[in-house]
Amino acid sequence: MSVNYGSKRIVVGAHYGLRDWLVQRATGTLMVLFTLVVLIRVLATSGPLGYEGWAGIFAPQWMKFLTFSIIVALIWHVWVGMREIWMDYIKPVSVRLSLQVFTIVWLVGCAGWAIQVLWRL
């Protein structure tokens, strides 16, 4: 069997960490762009923002579409980051697994809540 680990690893192969690394960059970039979109829409509001202006930013269907994607990007990003923290500092497998499960519950719950807020508008 040919050597496919170490310096000979296959870039597209699984479990080399490239996927998480790339996900972290892609989702992070998306959130930076989304921040700019929201910021521009806030700054483009004439007069004081108020409830009408603020809710008006998220009300159009295209903005809900975008915000929904960003919520998914966010929890994926946080999952990769938090798992990294647990893997670096928490060594006992039982504690680390519990924290990872807690992280997933925390994030999935938050995502559901945020999505509900979005589509109640």
């Binding site: 930076v32 938090m82 938050c110 809540w113």
Partner: protein, 148 residues
């Protein structure tokens, strides 16, 4: 490599099992390491406060009435918790967000530019990150606390 075998050099300490109380206080924190550590801490803070952030998103968007509750949160507070405390937490979140986003952009820059992967750039960009994130936090914090 040659400097490693120079006999006049003092032996560098070697850590096999880091003790938080004995070893960490003597740790050197170059600015790039500080930015990296703060990147983790800011991310952790935002992760732990995520339900609070979404609660703010919820109350600010749900209705005219809840929006009024949202704004009064930072002036009169809610359920015995003073408004100033909410402002402090918001300030902490503003810092966490700014630091995390700027330190993240620094990483992206290092990913696309080979010239940026050097000790010197690491140090200089760490200074830029700290100046920008703390500066912007100060500006927005002053606005939050009504200084202008």
């Amino acid at each position: 490599m040659t400097e490693l075998v120079t006999p006049s050099r003092a032996k560098r300490p070697e850590f096999r099992n880091i003790n938080a109380f004995k070893d960490l206080p003597g740790y050197r924190w170059p600015l790039a390491a500080l930015v990296s550590g703060m990147h983790r801490i800011s991310g952790l803070i935002m992760f732990l406060l995520l339900p609070f952030i979404i609660w703010l998103f919820d109350t600010s968007l749900t209705s005219e009435y809840s929006y009024a509750r949202f704004t009064s949160l930072f002036s009169v507070g809610v359920a015995g918790v003073p408004g100033g405390l909410f402002k402090l937490v918001a300030l902490g979140l503003i810092w966490a967000y700014l630091h995390h986003i700027i330190a993240g952009l620094r990483h992206l820059w290092m990913d696309v530019s080979h010239d940026a992967v050097s000790k010197e750039f690491g140090r200089r960009s760490a200074i830029v990150t700290l100046v920008l994130s703390l500066g912007l936090t100060a500006v927005l914090g002053a606005k939050l606390f009504g200084l202008y």
